[in-house]
Structure formats: structure tokens, C-alpha cells
């Protein structure tokens, strides 16, 4: 019986603490934005979850390539973990964005390039799970999954460029301060601090969830092997 590593337990606790700290920074520490008011506080978690979402998708594409070269199912477990965790975080990003958009843009959803790209990205990774569900052979499932994450990883940036052909209204907060008319805002020092804290917190949570999911993947495999042994 494989016991849970102590480091992972510590990381679990750390994740819970960090989400508390990030919540404090977002809701209390950061100053209230002048024009949008309290709703702007959604922003800190919005960018935090978006960051780990993108991180996982890129990771899945890279790990997919490694799997295709090495053919070791260990890499597939990492890939699945990354896509699963990221799909969930990305969904949270979209939901939080919607909550912000309702008062800021006066609508829950609009077909803006970033929103559209986000929706398509989410659909690509949902399709990934449907693809995996349709294959029984674990080796083939891993191979197809790797190919599809690779395709997705390349397609998403091109999709973003393609949709950029239309005009965007999504504020560009990081690296561009001329977007005030679209609901953008320039950040004060404390706001930047709160954002960085949120980045750090979600990165810790992401690593923790990834670790747990990878561990679960290898346990699942062990159970499968034991089942086979019993039936034989």
C-alpha cells in the first residue's frame, strides 16, 4: 500500500492557506477601483485562474510531444492531469469573467476575440476527454491524446489571431494602459501586489492538484493491474 507522501500533505495544507491569503489580498488588501468599484476585485482570481489554465494546456502539449517520443505512460498521466486541472480552472476563468462583464459591459457574454478563443479552447479540451473516453487500449488512448493536445496547443494561438481580425473589446490590463475606454484600468502598486499574490497562490494550488491527480492516475493503473491479476 502506497501512503501519501508527506510533502504532498504539506502542499495540500499550503494550498488551503494560499487561497485564504489570496482571498484576503483580493477582497481586503487591494484598494477599491474608482470607476468599477467592488466588482473589479473579481479580476485577481480571473487572471490567476487564467494563468494556470494556460500553463496546463501548454504543459499538456509539451508532455504530449515527450510521450510520442518516449512512449512511457507516465507522461500520459501527467498530460491528462494537466488538461483536467486546466479545463476546470479555465472554466472558472470564464465564469468569473462573466460575473465581471455583467456590470462592466452590461452583458454576461459577448463574441469578443478573447472570449470566443476561450470558449473554443474549452471545447477543444472537452473534445479531448470525449476522444479518450472512446478508446479502450491505454497505449492508443495516450497516443491519440498526445496528438490531439499537440493540435490544440497549436490551434489555439492561431484561433486567437484569426479572431483578432475582428475588433476586440476585452481590456488589455497587463502591458497596455490605453484601454480605459473598454473597461480597462491602470493598476496601483497594491493592486499589482494583490495580482502577484493571486498568481503565486494559484500556481501552488495548480501544482498541488496536478500532483494529486498524477498520483491518482498511477493508483488507478495499479488497481487495473490488480484486477487483471485477480481475474486470471
Amino acid at each position: 500500500m502506497q501512503t501519501k507522501p508527506i510533502a504532498l500533505t504539506i502542499l495540500d495544507v499550503l494550498s488551503v492557506i494560499s487561497i485564504g491569503v489570496a482571498t484576503y489580498f483580493a477582497l481586503v488588501f487591494a484598494p477599491t477601483e474608482q470607476i468599477m468599484g467592488q466588482v473589479q476585485r473579481v479580476f485577481y482570481f480571473h487572471v490567476g485562474t487564467a494563468w494556470v489554465g494556460m500553463l496546463g494546456f501548454i504543459m499538456a502539449a509539451v508532455v504530449g510531444v515527450i510521450y510520442l517520443i518516449k512512449k512511457d505512460l507516465k507522461w500520459d498521466r501527467i498530460g491528462v492531469a494537466a488538461v483536467e486541472v486546466s479545463t476546470m480552472f479555465f472554466f472558472i476563468t470564464i465564469a468569473l469573467g462573466s460575473i465581471w462583464a455583467r456590470p462592466a459591459w452590461n452583458t454576461w457574454w459577448t463574441w469578443d476575440p478573447r472570449l470566443t478563443t476561450a470558449a473554443i479552447t474549452e471545447l477543444i479540451y472537452i473534445a479531448y476527454f470525449m476522444l479518450r473516453a472512446g478508446i479502450e487500449d491505454p497505449e492508443k488512448r495516450a497516443r491519440f491524446g498526445a496528438v490531439y493536445t499537440l493540435l490544440g496547443g497549436i490551434s489555439v494561438p492561431i484561433t486567437f489571431m484569426a479572431i483578432r481580425l475582428f475588433r476586440t473589446i476585452h481590456p488589455v490590463v497587463v502591458g497596455n494602459e490605453s484601454a480605459a475606454a473598454q473597461g480597462g484600468f491602470s493598476m496601483s502598486g497594491d493592486m499589482v501586489t494583490a495580482m502577484l499574490v493571486s498568481f503565486a497562490a494559484f500556481t501552488i494550488i495548480f501544482i498541488d492538484l496536478m500532483w494529486n491527480r498524477i498520483r491518482m492516475g498511477s493508483l488507478e493503473e495499479k488497481v487495473e493491474q490488480l484486477k487483471l491479476k485477480v481475474s486470471m
Binding site: L68, I120, L123, I135, R143, F144, A146, L151, I158, T159
Partner: protein, 237 residues
Amino acid sequence: MTNETNTTAIVQRPSFLKAVMAIVQKDLSAEFRSRELLSAMLVFSMLVILIFNFALELNIDVRRTVTAGVLWTTFAFAGTLGLNRSMAVEKDRGCMDGLLLAPVDRSAIFFGKAISNLAFMLIVEAIVIPLYALLYNETRIFQLEFLGVLLLGSIGYISVGTLLSAMSVQTRTRDVLLPILLFPVAVPVLLASVKASGGIIEGLPLNDILTPINLLIVYDIVFIAISFMVFDFVVEE
């Protein structure tokens, strides 16, 4: 290395181009004998246009803006029909195993299937476009640029579609899965095609539609290259 030591026992390997053309010829002659796939794609395309006619009330004002969208939606749907079928016949009758056993490069199989799929799609387009022009008195679609965009868009769509259909036929859900896998990945090609062909129909200067056309070219090159590289992993047993 055995090639040098034991030349007499080695059968001459066909050249890459020959292998590709052999597969294309096989697909085309099989299709022209049965005409299953083309007739299904054609009838389906006409039905989609018919449904659009009622769904969108395609009168003269609406048509000006939606022609490109209607045509591309039709071709995308008809395309998945063809892609599914063309891979399914290989799988069902064990032809794929035969192809894989042939002493040719695996990517030759990819290019062969992709070119024959592209041929089917272009044949369907060649019939649907004049029919659409006739039915809706839309002669502006007979422009060289429009046909060029049609070709570029079809190449991109088919290249990634051929790869994904090779994957989807090997799954339990098969036909259902292909559009789900293909559409989100093919969004850029559909978007750029609609944007470019819409601009051509509206008579915009070439400068204005250069961005989507460039994007189409980039997409085509990137996705042909990727599909070519990973096809081996998709068909290996």
C-alpha cells in the same frame, strides 16, 4: 543496410510520389464506380442550403452578407461526411492494414488519403457553387480570388480533417466524434475563409482581405506539416 548486402531479394520500393498517386487513384476509381460518397455529399450540401434558405430567409439583402458563411458551413458539414466515410471504408474492410503493410512511407498514405479527400471536396464545391449561383442569382462568386480562397480553405480543412478522421474511426464513438474533434481545431481556417470570401463577394480591395488570406496560408502550411509528422503515431498498431 540490408539493401546493400542482399539486393536481389529486395523488391524495388516505389517512389514517394508514385505511392501517393497510387492511393489517390485507388480512391478515385473506387468512388467513380460506386459514387456513394460524392452523391451523399452533394445531396447533403443541397439540403443544407435548402435549410439555410428557410432558416435565414435568404432574400437579396441578407444574401449579400451571409453567402460566404452559408457556403462554408455547407462545405464544412459535407466535408465531415466525406472524411468519415473515406476513412471508415479503409477501416471496415481491413484495407488500412493492407495499406500499412505496403512497403511505402506512412506519410505517403496520409498524402494519398488527403489528396483524394480534397478531390471529393473540390468536386462537391465545383457542383454546389454554380448551383448556388443559379438558385440565388449570385454571380459574384465566380471570381478567381474567390475560387483561390476556396482552394486554400479546403486544403487546410482537409489536411487536419484527414488526420483526425484517421483517429476517430479507431474509437468507439466513430462518426459522432469527428466533427467534435475537427470543428474546434478548424475554427481558424473556417473563420479566415469566411472573412476572405465574404470580402471578395462584397468587392473589397485586395489589401483588405490580405490578412485572412495570409492566415489561411499559414494555417495550411502549419497543419499540413503537423499532420504529416504525427500521422505515423495515429495509424501505428
